[in-house]
Symmetry: C2
Subunit: 344 residues, 2 copies
């Protein structure tokens, strides 16, 4: 494997460097060809590196940034005043070719806007989309998009999301002719919003897409489709709902039996079985698949959950590494060129 | 308690009389003051009553209906040709005062449309909304609406949903000044769709509503709010997503350890602990809270899941019984009169 450099917005997210710096060290430890540019306040980053092995810090560089975009800032305003911020500098490093991808847990709207502004959409893409890969019940995976890069989407955008999702499923998941579905409130033709019905009509006539029709919310994890397409609002709510339920189950499992009067051997056995259950459901733990990929740009940008812990942020860094190694933006661009009508 | 009569669309849903008739008998057995009008094909209903106790059948009457509205029929078309159908006759029985509520597992769109046509919305309500009560982690309950009575909603409709939801939480859950939130993709003011932001601005100025702002999908089951308001498309997808995840967990729990080579005593103990876990999570089982209530009409209509089993359909009948006993439509009407601006 060849050397690979990623730019990390070290200041973004709810916990900033406290999470991003240890996660970065962990990623360097796990991937020997990885180099990281930590963008942020050196005064906050350096102390966190004090006890670190110098073999790791050799593959790490701190890039100073003066400011941080607040998580609750209004995106349009934040973008206007973004010069010198850790997020913008991290994206500029990608634009200038000094890094091959950028990872940030910061303000989603600002990241989407700045990424589009600096890295530009691919030819034929109106709007980039946030995509993630969810594990499903059949031990496979489903590509889901848009997860909130756009608040609402028209039919053309949904069709473009479908094409990008299909490329992801083929290239990253290795699925031949991946099944593509639209998320809707019923499986019948007549159901749902106009935009969805129009997108459905277009997808039916697209020979290069294996379009299978509508899928409902309860089939999100059943593996009924390889690619699930929806607008950003619905995708965001759906993903967060799913994560909320999974987290609740995992915490209930862990707390089961606590504080109850039980024989010691029963307690011990109970705990042992719980541990096995937690492990069995572990692949559904949102931390495992943290990191949504912004598709449709001339560069790779990974958005981590704002509330990501070290483990989850490390997963986002690894997703960036994978996306670069598999040349996702290049492959999507090539497929779009073949599929989309020429604009000139 | 006084006598109470419900009209049951015995033909609706994926399984028709095979589910609705046994569920009706179970409800009659559990509630001695309940009378049921089973609307449908007598040739299909009667054989299912053959072995039933005559004390129960005394409180049951079969009302013949010639046709059934198909679950996948286009609502507008189905409504136009609804005369003589089991769903329409069940609603007409409510309209004529022969039954106090109607329960159907049939075509959602047709049921919403026919109910609005026959039972009329309350003064001040533009569109009725589908509402359900979900159990949450704090051992309380959350009122959620709209779950799909309307495909999309404007700000005024969202505000009306909020008022109806607040009345439900007060009257049915006994919560004083229930917290009301809008489902959105972020908690900041600037997030989300225009309609949601406009509804938020209106709710902030409504003194009779304890409006707490936006809530995200991951807080659906955390008990952060007593009433959660969203448009019908998002509500439907969210609820189905949640149900899908819960069902998957319950089935994984049940199958845990199956087929593995284990000592018999370990298997036995494992199964015992699983049973306890399944019971502990049982209150989240979608079957337990089947039955969405159509709010905003001059009458009570309960929509059961199309795929409801006997247990779930019985829960829907019980919800109808409760809604009538608590005089929900009357209470909503009284509150709306106090809260909404007079139209004349």
């Amino acid at each position: 494997m060849t050397r690979l450099t990623l730019a990390i917005d070290a200041m973004g997210g709810d916990y900033g460097p406290r999470v991003t710096v240890p996660a970065a060290m962990q990623a360097l430890d796990a991937h020997s060809q990885l180099h990281l540019l930590l963008v942020g306040d050196p005064g906050k980053i350096t102390p966190l590196l004090a006890t670190t092995d110098s073999a790791l810090t050799a593959r790490l560089q701190i890039i100073a940034a003066e400011s941080v975009i607040a998580s609750d800032a209004k995106p349009s305003l934040a973008i206007r005043h973004s010069r010198g911020s850790s997020m913008r500098i991290a994206l500029e490093l990608v634009k200038e070719g000094k890094a091959q991808a950028c990872v940030s847990a910061g303000n989603t709207g600002a990241l989407m806007g700045l990424a589009k502004l600096l890295l530009k959409p691919l030819d034929g893409i109106e709007r980039p989309a946030l995509m993630t890969v969810l594990p499903h019940q059949q031990k496979g995976k489903t590509v889901v998009l848009d997860l909130g890069a756009n608040v609402d989407s028209n039919a053309t955008m949904l069709v473009q999301f479908a094409i990008m999702g299909a490329v992801m499923a083929e290239e990253v998941l290795g699925i031949d002719k991946p099944r593509v579905a639209l998320l809707n409130i019923g499986q019948e033709e007549t159901k749902g919003l106009d935009t969805i019905r129009t997108a459905s009509a277009i997808l039916k006539t697209a020979p290069e897409i294996n379009y299978i029709g509508y899928v409902e919310g309860n089939d999100l994890l059943t593996g009924k489709t390889d690619v699930l397409v929806c607008d950003g609002f619905v995708g965001n709510v759906t993903l967060k709902t799913m994560e909320g339920v999974v987290r609740m189950f995992l915490s209930l499992l862990k707390s089961q039996g606590e504080g109850k009067k039980q024989a010691w051997w029963l307690k011990l056995l109970g705990r042992w079985i719980q541990k096995r259950l937690v492990r069995r459901f572990g692949h559904l733990n949102p931390d495992q698949y943290n990191g949504a990929c912004l598709l449709g740009l001339r560069g790779t940008v990974i958005k981590s959950h704002g509330a990501a812990n070290q483990y989850a942020f490390m997963a986002a860094i690894e997703q960036a590494e994978q996306t670069v190694r598999r040349q996702i933006p290049e492959r999507i661009a090539a497929r779009l060129e073949a599929v989309l009508p020429k604009s000139d």
